[in-house]
Each structure stands twice: as C-alpha cells, then as structure tokens.
Amino acid sequence: MGVTGTPTSIKQGSKTKGGIGESTLRPDGTLKVTGEFAYSSDMWHEDMLWGYTLRSTTAHAEIRSIDTAEALAMPGVYAVLTYDDLPTEVKNYGLEIQDTPVLAHGKVRHHGEPVAIVAADHPETARRAAAKIKVDYAELPVITDEASATAPDALLIHEGRDDHHIGHVPHPNIVHRQPIVRGDADEAAKRADVIVSGEYVFGMQDQAFLGPESGMAVPGEDGGVDLYVATQWLHSDLKQIAPVLGLPEEKVRMTLSGVGGAFGGREDISMQIHACLLALRTGKPVKIVYNRFESFFGHVHRHPAKLWYEHGATKDGKLTHMKCRIVLDGGAYASASPAVVGNASSLSAGPYVIDSVDIEAIALYTNNPPCGAMRGFGAVQACFAYEAQMDKLAAKLDMDPVEFRRLNAMEQGTLLPTGQPCDSPAPVAELLRRVKAMPLPPEQQWLAAGEQADVRALPGGLSNTTHGEGVVRGIGYAVGIKNVGFSEGFDDYSTARVRMEVINGEPVATVHTAMAEVGQGGVTVHAQIARTELGVTQVTINPADTQVGSAGSTSASRQTYVTGGAVKNTCENVREKVLEIGRAKFGSYHPAWATAELLLEGGKVVTDGGEVLADLVDVLEGESVDLELEWRHRPTEAFDLRTGQGNGHVQYSFAAHRAVVEVDTELGLVKVIELACAQDVGKALNPLSVVGQIQGGTTQGLGVAVMEEIIVDPKTAKVRNPSFTDYLIPTILDTPTIPVDVLELADEHAPYGLRGIGEAPTLSSTPAVLAAIRNATGLELNRTPVRPEHLTGT
C-alpha cells in the first residue's frame, strides 16, 4: 500500500517541514482522542432549552388543523411554533429551488416532514410536549414512482411550480431533465456485432454520518442570533436562514461546530432555522440534537434509481454506441436533484470512448423521502449500471472483462458525451492494470489449511452458519469517472484570509477560511500549504465562520482543490508583500533581493539557489501582512438543454477496484474478502489522509452493494427502517482489507496538480463487489443492495 507512480513535475513552493506531500498529522487529532473536541451535539449553555421537532406520520396529506394548546400548557415548555408563527413572508428554503417549507403548511409531502417545533427545559419534556400536539390530516393518494408521478391526471406534488426548470420538463412532477445526444446511436448500432441491454435498480442509500444533526442558537442582544452548527457550507446555510428569520445576513452569525461526518447529508438545512426561530422566540439559547430516528428523516438520501442501458460492440471488442435512460427519484423536495441529473447524464457513459450516445436522465418529484447530495452524486448510480454492461459485453464477446475495459478506456483528449475533451491525464487503463496486478488474497484459506475453518472468516461469521461447505469465491472489477467541483457554469469560488506576523519571537501564519472540516482533513492540508508557501512551521487555523468570505461547500471532492487553491493563492500574495517589506528593509544589503527569485523556507528568505538573505522574524518585526482573497478555478458552462453539449466540468477523478468475495450459496450470505483500489490523485498533498479517504469511500460503496438501503413502503411511502438496528452500515467485520495503490499524474490546471479524491472510490467499489458476486454465483443480479433472497432465489 502506498503512493506510487511518476508525479508530473509541478512548480511548487519551498521545502519546509510539515509542508505538502508529507503525512502530517491532523491538528485536531489530540482533541478528538481525548474527548475534548466540541461537536455540534456537545454545545452547552447555561439556561439553555432543548428543541424538538414534530414530524408528519403520513407521507401525503392535507393539514386541516394543528392544535398546540395542550403542549404549550405543559410545565417546562417555553414555545411551540407552527407555520403560522413564521415571522416573515419567506417560508420556504432550498439549495436551488426554494420549495421546502420550514414547517409544513397546507399539506405534508413526505413521511417525517417537520410540522411543529417545541422548546422545553429538558429534552424529554420537549418530546412529550410534541406528542401532545394534535394534527388533523386528510390523507391524499401517494405518488411513489415514475408511472404514478407522470400519469396525465397525477396530483401535482408542487402546484403552481414556477422555477426555471419548468419550461424544459415534460411534466410538473419531473424536477429536471437532461438529454445528451452525440453522433447517431441508431446508425452506429448497425455496426455492432453484439448488443446487450439491461435494466438496473439502485436502492436508496443513506449518508449515515455518525454525528447527528445538531447545534445551538443563541439570541444576540442586537436582535440577531449566533448559530453554532455542523454543516458543509456555512454561507449557503446563511443565505437560506436569514430571509426566513427576516434578519439581514450580518445579524445571523454562523460558526462551524465539530462535524461528525457529512458525505452530502449536511448540504441541506436541517435544524438550523428551527433552532434560530425557537431562540429568537424564547430569548434563550436553544440546542437541538436529533436522535438517529430523526436523523433518518432530517436529511436527504442518495437518489434511488432505475437505469435502462443498451451498449453495442464490434467482435474485436470496440464499443459502437450507448443508449441509456436514468430515472432518479428525488422525493418530495428538489434539494440537489437538478445537479444530480446533470452529473448522472454527463457521466453516464463512464470512462470509455463511445462516439455515439443517446442519453436521458430525469429526476422525479414523488412522496418518497427527499433525495439530494451523497458522495458520488449521480455518478454512483450510473457506474453501477454501465459496469454491469461492460461485464455483459465482455462475456458475450468471450473476452476478459478487464481487457475489454482497457480496450475501450478513455484517455487524455477523449471527448465525453457532452463533447467536452478531457484535458488532463485519464489513466483508466493503467488503473485497471494496476488493480489487476495487485497480489490476490490466498485461495480460500480455510480450505487450504485443511484444518477446521475459522468461522469468523466465513460468510455468516460467528453465527456459525457454515464451516465452508457451499462457499464459493468470485472476483470482479470495475472502474469509474467522477467530476470534481461544481459544474454547469456554477461560480465555484473560495475565499481565504492569511495573516503573517511575529508572535513570541517566531514567524506565525494564521489561515482563516469558512471551509467546513467534516473529517476529510482540510485543516491539515491548509496548514501544509501555508508552510510550503510561507516557509513557517507554526500555522494557526482559525475556526470556520461567516466573518470571512464563502469557501463554498465541502462536497464534490472540491475543498482541497478550491479552498486549498484559495489558501495557496492568498499565501503567494502574502509572500509577495513579505518580500516587499524585506526589500525595503534589507534590499540594500544584498543584490539578490532585486535580482533572484526568492522563496520563504524554514523561517528565512532564501534565493532559489539556497542562499539565505534574512530571517523572517527580522523582516516581519513590527509589521504584519494580512490579506483576504477569493480564488476561482477555470469557468465551466451549462449543458445545452436539448443536446447536452457543453464544457460543463472542470476536472475528473478516476478509481478502479477489484473485489474478492466468498458467497454461501445455500444461505445467500456474502463475505467480501478484499477490496483493492487503484486511484489517481494528481498529487497526494497528505498521503496518509489520501489513503484514508479512499478506504472510507470504498467502504461506503461496499455498504450499498450488500446491505445498505432505506426501505420505503411502496403503498404508503413510509420509511420502514429509520434506525441503526434496521439500516445496516458495514462494521469492522463486514469490511475487508483495502489495499490502495495511489497514482500521481498531475493535472496541470489544478493547484499542485492535485485531483479531488473523496468520491471516486465510492463509485467503482459497488459494481466491483456485484461483479464478484456474479462471478461466484453465475446469477445476473441487476439490483443493489444484493440481499440473501436474490442469491438463493427465495
């Protein structure tokens, strides 16, 4: 395991200890292992109240009345608020389309929608008070799939919709639609010697971050409010919160509190506005902490999808064409559905050269739970389907599945379905070669040993369901492509403030951004960048808040690229200022001040030849440099709404997996033995964190392959398993070893050549596991997660 490959050389700053490329340790590590790190659920304030949310017990209903009198009369209850108590005319919020009510009004559109909120002096009091609120629902028929959503007489989930997508969708219950047409797929199909098609189903996955939605709102003396919360994007929250409260943005001061994972699930507002409303109403600090049950209702999930694909290939194994239709279930509110549609469609062909494509992706409005961002964002569902198709084609052509993929692998310069050329390294064939070349785990050890099998290593584990009989092994491969950053013309910028000064006789850099550290390690990397660019060892990372400009979202694998880029850019400008001060103070002592290229390294000003000109302490004595600058990556453009053509993405990342599984074919139990990954990261700023991210992403892909699914009753649209008892995420026993081979091929357009890493491993992990299970069992398996009944035919 480790970082290999030949990094393309990219100009970078100085070599200072703890700089980029080193596996420096997390600055928050010690606080996290001692229990002192303050997560959003750990906030405490004297005299604070506890908030609680009453949620709808039905998925689609008119609200005839809400009676809060009994709840309000309970001792210890300070406020009970419904839609009627909202202070302004702005009563909805939303990431792109403002269609989500702060509290339900008129009707509820999904199971678990917030209807009323309570503040009380003990969480149990708040819960009991909520239970006393009487809501009179008049049930409506539920819309749960494409047929019921687009029927000519279908009830409209959002009557009077007037967002900017409405002109382009065939039915108001379709959030967004993106077709992509390039070449002539029908004509190209005539050249195909083999054609395969398939229908695939991807279940609803949950981010299941461990730290529940939580935070604290503290009313300010100026009529404003201070909000401490776990989120992925402070400024996006602020834009949605302030109008509902009727406050100017500067009166809503937001500070990031400790975030216990996110994975897309904190892109949307959850308890933020509710806590502020209760705090402003009661004049007291209000803390809200969701329990796990509420958390399943409190955030959007990964879109479940139905995907129909057709691929053709010539008998020498070249892809001729691809047609696909992807139907994503967005649930009751839009959230990030339009962008998910853009990703699913534009990445639906995968990392392959296919000149003729005919693609359509849509997202539906239904009464199912709202779906939005989750790691892999639209690309995950497509990868599951196109990789199954690749295996089918290879089998039909009697070719090795890896060789077949390599034969069709895209490379630098290949055009995507959108007509956009990939203008950075695309080592798809190389990643497949590498992952295949990694040593395989030994053949069924329990068999070879000839002794009694260690049942812990077998499918079913300690439950002693087998001692090896009926267990077969399979191997499967997959590869995927994910865009990095926000696409389709979005102004995807970040801001960094950097100060340099002398403190206690040492040069110190302070970095302040609004980047949400959600566990990914951005804080580690920002300090590394500052050390590299400013030549200091002491770097302080200020807490993220709204006192500094927006950093954009911690999602889409973009933070190290964009906020990392902003920190780098600001540091470079700070460095120039520091050098100006140096020139003014010491320029006359040495001609190199004027003529040489100067670096800051190891606390000194040095020439690129390594000659020391001054100590930073002397340069900065009595002065400080302080800059706040925005930074942008290359602009992108929207996809054409009819043809899907356009330079919509800024960068891509690629990962390949090999899965080895053992299946108990009698009981339908699966044990993943190993999940090897090869990924290109452009430049590993922190190799230890890079590998950790790849292993984490791989495990989430494993989860959705064999166990994770939110089960929604198709008749009532109610969620059946909102708990960790019933929604299963992989434990350490379900997760195999994950050897990682990291390749570094620099993207010359990106800071340090880096490439976003967090999402790509989530893509290919799922189809690799599925391919391995198919390989072991010979079954077709077109649905994920795979359940025992799919394997035993019961």
């Binding site: 994972g261 329990n291 566990g519 008892t725």
Partner: protein
C-alpha cells in the same frame, strides 16, 4: 432522584435525575463530560462506550440509576487510567481489571496542561497516540467509543490477531475510515506495548 457514582476517579453526585435518563445523558449533560458520543442511543453504534466497573458498556443503554455506587471510566479518563494500569503492571501482573482494581483507581491531576487550541501537550494513553499516528481519526465521532473498546482489548490481550481486533471492535461503527487505519492503530499500540515490555 439522586445518583452517586465515581467518574474517572472522582466522586460525583447527580441530582434531579429522571428515571428515564441514561448514563450517557447524565455524563454528557449533567457532568459536563461530552466525550462519550450520542450517535444512535440504541446500543447499535458503540460511540458511547464507557467502562462500568471495568467492563465496556454502551452508556446509552445503562439507566442512570444502575450506576449508583459504581465506577465509570470515559474517554476523558482513559489516559490516566492507562497510566495507572501501566504502573500497576510493572510487576508483570497485567490482566483484566478486576472490580477491586477499578475501584482503587483514582484520577490524579495531570501536571501537563493541554493546549486549549489543539490539545498539544496532553498526556495520552498509548492507544490514543496510536489512533493519531496511524491516521485512524477522520471526523472522530466514533473515536472515543473505539478507544475505550480497543484499550480494553489490549488490556485483556496484549497480542491480538486481526480476527481478535475485528471481533472486539465489531460493536463500534465508523462511517469515515473504512476501519483499515483503525486496525493499524490497534496493531501499532500493541506493538509499542510489546516493545516497551520487552525493554527494547
């Protein structure tokens, strides 16, 4: 009701506790010890793992009243607990913590004060340091529970196999790391402990 118990070696008294309150709630909201985390409050995730008279338990499943007169060690007391165990182990009599041993254990003020910004200078248990060094901490929400469980494993079994580690930590969910680095951390702590004992 009133509950008297010992937390990290200090006698504690909690007043006005509701019958329904869990040990986890009392620790977090009444004692000001939020180190034990609340990720499911259902006994499924292990984030709230503490030791009750030496035995790892899910604090969310223990009713506050059940701890009357008993000893609790949380992640906040882990470093001190491990240190005293190590000192007790100088004789080589290292095994599980007996009830008696657990009750004799006292928290002692640490002479090093942790840096308030990044915790630098905090005295750590070997397993805590290993989690940092191995990169086993990402969001860190699972970390306190895992540390308590892993520390107890190493106390029982100084040279755990991978299968032993997986079994011991199977009640602790982590959503970020994929567990590989957590395994690395436990192996690292075991190796360091081994080296220390053999005096290398």
């Amino acid at each position: 009701m009133r509950v008297n118990f010992t937390v990290n070696g200090r006698k504690q008294e909690a007043d006005d506790v509701w019958e329904g309150e869990s040990l986890l709630y009392v620790l977090r909201e009444r004692m000001g010890l939020p180190g034990s985390k609340n990720a499911c409050e259902q006994g499924e995730c292990g984030s709230c793992t503490v030791r009750l008279d030496g035995v790892p338990v899910c604090a969310c499943l223990v009713a506050a009243g059940q701890v009357e007169g008993r000893e609790v060690v949380t992640v906040e007391g882990l470093a001190d607990f491990a240190k005293q165990r190590e000192e007790g182990c100088a004789t080589g009599a290292c095994g599980g913590t007996s009830l008696q041993q657990a009750q004799q254990w006292q928290a002692r003020p640490s002479d090093k004060v942790a840096d308030s910004q990044n915790g630098e200078g905090a005295e750590l248990a070997p397993i805590q340091q290993a989690f940092i060094d191995a990169g086993a901490v990402q969001c860190g929400f699972c970390t306190p529970g895992l540390l308590v469980a892993a520390d107890e494993l190493l106390e029982r079994n100084a040279e755990p196999s991978d299968a032993d580690i997986r079994e011991a930590l199977s009640g602790n969910l982590c959503r970020c790391t994929g567990y590989e680095k957590i395994l690395d951390a436990v192996r690292l702590a075991a190796a360091r402990q081994d080296r220390q004992e053999s005096g290398v």
